[in-house]
């Protein structure tokens, strides 16, 4: 008995759910529509479990062709679902964690939409959430690079929509465009990565004449290795975009503008791991290009350490987690880069548990403070005043928290479990998966091992700092004193995730190698070797983690932070801490490296080409308009001030260039005719004199 034919429902159930919510969501009310969304996602989980059961009996890959799609010449891409141990692992994680987050969100969004003053947005949220599940399922279940790409773009779109969910607000709740700018930044950084993936796909198709995984892998051996190297490196650009690796990671911290369940689901547990999945899926290609593997591993390890340093200096509870996510993704990418595909996937799964837990927990903390600050439950009247920007109450600032373990004990307990799992203390899930990566790294590449170990040390430190700042000491604000525990609908998913964070290590417990054996069916014995437990590595990392936690305690625990006091780390580290707080000025660096020169180039075009050359002849109206164009250019660097991110600046630069070009479009017929004539004369000159 197998259920493989049911697999299309992992996509269609969420689609059904979102259609239902689009059509009658408003009439169903909050409960109804969140229930619909939950059932859709839960149904997908059930189907995934059925796939798992079927696969346990018949572990070889099954391809379920659903529909003809593209079929021209050499290119034949049907819409086919690929059910193998690798894709089913991802399906289970996506739908399982996704469903828990649906439950949590049903409670969380109830409050969030009211604080943001737009209760009608509730249904919209669940529509997007289901859409995301559907797209992510397409991504993991596709049987070809093209289907994977369709899902890849789909989740990118959902990410864009959800980051910009409160698109007319700033993250602090005042009206403004910061959230929607964050969404744009994410979208554009991802497009840069997508270009890489597209190029890889085109190269694959050109060289191997197919995009289906099996065919591609079968033909890969016969291709010149330098082409494979190019393909895998292009793919790495895509991975860096989607999985927030150096140098394209800048969008992920800003993506925290989305509602917290989104941060948990998309920007921690599932979507951002798509890059890891892509590399694992393309294992046969990467194994043919050792140079690319090393590059991937080093990029991952550097990202892991780099992001971990930044996390140390953040005060925003979600920003710490965001940089931690980038860092942990670095671990996974490094692992798959080293060829330790199983370790990477293992960490992917456990990380999905404890990072989702941490994000949801932070959401619970934020909500607890928010509800204490201005209560709106049930009979209380609704708040309409808009907080002013700047000195507004910021429920995400760890400096106003403290002592929360007494008022919100449930959240505290689960959060502690998540933090310890992330810190890598035995016997929690994170310990096993991280250790497996470190062990593999030690064998394969000592540099990567050193980088990752340092990152692991920092991880334990910043998590210790965070837990101590948030839950220990004395409350540093009124809201922290009065914080309200979240309702059961939110805490239950937390408890389930906490359980998974404790027990997750069993999935690939040393000696049992459950996941290794499971994935071996797909990856083959060559890529799915069992890593033996290495006591030295385990002891080193555990001791380092304990040391880091002790260090955090001496700084933040022994003498708890007072309200409005400076961070003790600032005194010790001095300007280094400022650098950490400012995220190593990477956004500013991009501004300096790419955006400013781009604008200067545009200004050069405007100044030399447009101004001196063109305007020497231009007398009246053109001068006035050109002057305005130049003013735009001059104003831009000043006006933009500190340029926020690659994306916005690029867009502004292109717009400036465009408006200087459009000066040519004067509206005068004779100028137009002159342009035509110019085109003719230069075309003829080329043909007569040069060809």
């Amino acid at each position: 008995m197998n259920y493989f034919d049911l697999v299309p429902w992992i996509v269609f159930l969420p689609v059904l759910g979102l259609l239902l919510n689009i059509l009658i969501g408003k009439r169903l009310g909050e409960r109804g529509s969140s229930l619909v969304a939950f059932l859709a996602s839960g149904g997908a989980f059930v189907v995934s479990v059925l796939q798992w059961l079927s696969l346990s009996a018949h572990p070889e890959a099954h391809i379920v062709k659903f529909a003809e799609w593209i079929n021209i010449g050499a290119l034949q891409v049907p819409w086919a679902f690929r059910v193998d141990t690798l894709s089913v692992t991802m399906m289970l994680v996506v739908s399982g964690v996704g469903t828990l987050i649906h439950i949590y969100a049903a409670g969380y969004m109830h409050y969030d939409v009211r604080y943001k003053g737009d209760p009608a947005a509730y249904q919209r949220f669940f529509i997007y959430l289901n859409l995301f599940i559907a797209a992510m399922m397409i991504l993991v279940s596709g049987d070809s690079y093209l289907m994977l790409f369709v899902g890849w773009e789909g989740v990118g779109l959902c990410s864009f929509l959800l980051i910009g969910f409160w698109f007319n607000k700033n993250p602090d709740g005042s009206s403004g465009m910061e959230n929607s700018n964050a969404a744009k930044k994410a979208f554009i950084a991802n497009r840069v990565g997508d270009l890489g993936l597209l190029l890889a796909m085109f190269a694959i198709f050109t060289l191997m004449g197919s995009l289906s995984f099996d065919t591609v892998f079968a033909r890969a051996e016969f291709i010149n290795p330098s082409y494979i190297l190019a393909i895998t490196l292009f793919m790495l650009i895509g991975v860096a975009g989607k999985s927030a690796q150096l140098p394209l990671y800048v969008w992920l911290p800003d993506a925290m503008a989305g509602p917290t369940p989104v941060s948990a689901l998309i920007h921690a547990a599932t979507m951002v791991t798509a890059g890891v999945y892509l590399v694992a899926r393309s294992a046969p290609l990467y194994s043919l290009a050792p140079a690319a593997q090393t590059t991937v591993a080093v990029v991952g390890a550097l990202t892991a350490l780099f992001a971990a340093t930044i996390a140390v200096g953040q005060n925003d509870i979600k920003k710490v987690l965001a940089y931690s996510t980038i860092s942990q993704l670095g671990f996974m990418v490094a692992a798959v880069g080293l060829g330790a595909f199983v370790a990477g996937m293992f960490h992917l799964v456990t990380h999905a548990f404890f990072k989702a837990l941490l994000f949801l927990g932070s959401g619970s903390v934020i909500l607890a403070l928010e509800r204490a600050h201005h209560p709106i439950d049930g009979d209380h009247e609704q708040h309409h005043e808009e907080p002013k920007k700047g000195h507004a109450f910021d429920p995400q600032d760890m400096r106003i928290m403290g002592g929360l373990r007494k008022v919100i004990p449930t959240t505290y307990r689960v959060y502690l479990i998540g933090a310890l799992a992330l810190a890598g203390l035995p016997p929690l899930a994170g310990f096993f998966s991280k250790d497996e990566i470190l062990t593999d790294a030690l064998h394969a590449n000592p540099l990567v091992y050193a980088l990752l170990t340092a990152a692991a040390f920092l991880t334990a430190f910043y998590m210790g700092r965070q837990v101590l700042l948030v839950f220990f000491g004395e409350p540093r604000s009124h809201a922290a004193e009065e914080a309200v525990e979240s309702p059961p609908i939110m805490t239950w998913p937390l408890i389930v995730l906490a359980g998974l964070s404790i027990l997750g290590g069993l999935i690939n417990f040393p000696g049992l190698h459950g996941l290794t054996n499971w994935l071996e069916h797909t990856l083959g014995h060559e890529f799915a070797h069992a890593t033996e437990f290495n006591l030295t590595v385990a002891l080193t990392s555990t001791l380092l983690a304990l040391l880091a936690i002790y260090l955090a305690w001496t700084l933040y625990g022994r003498e708890p932070l007072k309200a409005k006091a400076a961070d003790p780390l600032a005194k010790r580290l001095g300007s280094l801490f400022t650098a950490l707080q400012n995220k190593w000025w990477v956004d500013e660096f991009y501004g300096w490296l790419i955006i400013r020169p781009y604008q200067r180039f545009a200004a050069f075009l405007a100044d030399v080409v447009d101004w001196r050359f063109w305007h020497d002849w231009v007398h009246d109206s053109l001068i006035a308009r050109g002057f305005r164009g130049l003013a735009v250019f001059l104003a831009n660097p000043v006006d933009l001030g500190v340029i926020d991110g690659l994306a916005n600046g690029l867009a502004t630069g292109a717009r400036g260039l465009a408006s200087s070009l459009s000066i040519l479009q004067t509206g005068y017929v004779r100028n137009y005719a002159l342009m035509v004539f110019f085109g003719v004369v230069s075309m003829l000159a080329y043909l007569i004199f040069f060809s």
């Binding site: 479009q665 005068y668 004539f677």
Partner: protein, 100 residues
Amino acid sequence: MVPVSYYLALAAILFALGALGVLIRRNAIIIFMSIELMLNAANLLFVAFARSFESLDGQIYVFFVIAVAAAEVAVGLALIVTIFRTKHSIDIDELSSMKG
């Protein structure tokens, strides 16, 4: 016998002058006349080539071009008259309300 190439050169000069007229005059009617000059230059080219091949096809083309020119003139002058009725001017530099 005058070489056909001389006719080609003459046609090219007339064509260039017509194009120049389009570019430097502001009176819509004169621009239009300049375009007629360009068409006429092409006609000269056709007839000259027809003569060198001793085939009649080139002459037939001229016939068609003249017919097309007539149609264009009718519509073009109608457009100019219409514009004149609204703007009381046929200065094409005043027709620049749309740009960018």
